[in-house]
Symmetry: C2
DNA sequence: TTCGTTCTTTGACCCAGATCAATGATCGTG
DNA sequence: CACGATCATTGATCTGGGTCAAAGAACGAA
């Protein structure tokens, strides 16, 4: 099991990769491709809060095998925009150079397989299925990022909060009675840094949704959404 | 010539596609792939301000052959977030269904070849080079979108304006003396809808940059940036 | 060139959400 | 299970950029 014995810094990634593909509907994977990926990938585990070190000097491709992570773009000291959250089964690509510096941190104990993007692409070049899977995943990431841009550019604090909860409900929620139960791995600060808001505003917006009967909180991380239908009205979509 | 006789709604896209690949360093393209693309693609021209109709009911892939376009996500009536600007040589993928409705408009007289994403992918599946080109382009779009998310989430109006000008300088600017000359195809409203600001704020920020000696305007569209180095300090990056 | 329309600039004022400041809840640890 | 540290909530106040309003430029058409 991936989570068995932290901290593990390096072991054979082949099994993790096979698992990743087998469980996550990324389609068939040939033994040859698996061997190549196993040889190039670096499996590593990070405890909650720890940094997941990216390939220095190279673009990185990461498979998230287990846990939950945040991808952070640092605009300048003390201004960190969370660009995406990732969960089990997500595939992330991170540029080395560009406008901003990126880093990745574990929100829970997490496992990931990292590749230098170049090496990964070299393998994918010989396996159209892998290349296509990668393309589809990248498109999904792009579409999500565009949605985030709309939220950050055009939505009120309440709309952002409602959208965030709806997205999380879809990605990691569990149906519970008529509603949806969330166990959020990220802090209020993380939510704020993702939505372009402060922790205080996040807290106030959750408070308002609570008063509207659309969210029930339990501790720091559990949120129950009794009525997704009504909540969706508050997202500011058409 | 693409711009010869507007409005042209449909003609053989094969030549346009060949041109697109030949001029824009998308690598080699086989005759077979070109034939397939030619058979599936819809070449269309749009005058300044016109809508570029996307495939209804399908995800769309678009090659921008000529001109300049904006990709708009509509959150709700009267709230349009411009998700990206595209120029000659850009490759755009647009989802049909998702959180928001997307549309594409020409900022100048423009030519584009459109594909139903499914049909395009089917062709690309037999041409790993094309698939890889598509992947690279999609990654570029993702990286740009993340930069936009950082701007929208964490930057002040002035920083967004400076970043915008720097990005445009890189994409469509022409070096002129020690500085850079821009002929922006988009209106102040477009800039505002792209940066999450109002036209008034955009105008005021340009005014401030003018007073700082970092921008000289001439008419609505021409902006000369005499000192990119200093301007970059105002972008809010590290 | 002139006219009319549309786009841009500038000014006055306002508000959503940031900032500052406590207080209260939660949870990991010994 | 009690302590300390971190995280979340709530309240008071401030401000960057939005909104409203009115000139003033720029461009297209005739």
């Amino acid at each position: 099991m991936l989570k068995a014995d932290f901290p593990v810094e390096n072991s054979d990634p082949r099994a993790a990769i096979a698992d990743f593909f087998a469980n996550l509907h990324l389609g068939e994977i040939s033994t040859r491709t698996l061997d190549s990926l196993g040889a190039q990938g670096r499996l590593l585990h990070a405890r909650k809060g720890e940094d997941i070190p990216l390939h220095a000097g190279h673009d990185t491709v990461a498979f998230i095998c287990e846990g939950a992570t945040k991808l952070i773009a640092t605009a300048s000291r003390q201004r960190e925009q969370i660009v995406a959250f990732h969960f089990r089964g997500d595939l992330v690509s991170i540029p080395q150079s560009g406008e901003h510096a990126y880093s990745m941190k574990a929100l829970r104990d997490s496992g990931a397989v990292l590749f230098a993007a170049e090496a990964f692409l070299k393998i994918a070049r010989d396996d159209p299925g892998l290349l296509e899977a990668m393309l589809i995943r990248t498109q999904t990431a792009l579409y999500r990022c565009r949605d985030k841009a709309v939220a950050l550019g055009k939505k009120s604090a309440q709309e952002r909060m409602a959208s965030f909860l709806m997205i999380m409900a879809e990605r990691i929620g569990t149906r519970e009675g008529g509603g949806c139960l969330l166990d959020l791995p990220m802090s209020r600060r993380d939510i704020g840094d993702s939505l372009g808001l402060t922790i205080e505003t996040v807290s106030r917006q959750i408070g308002e949704l609570r008063e509207l009967g659309l969210a029930e909180t339990d501790g720091r991380s559990r949120i129950f959404l009794p009525d997704l239908k009504t909540l969706s009205i508050y997202t500011g979509h058409v």
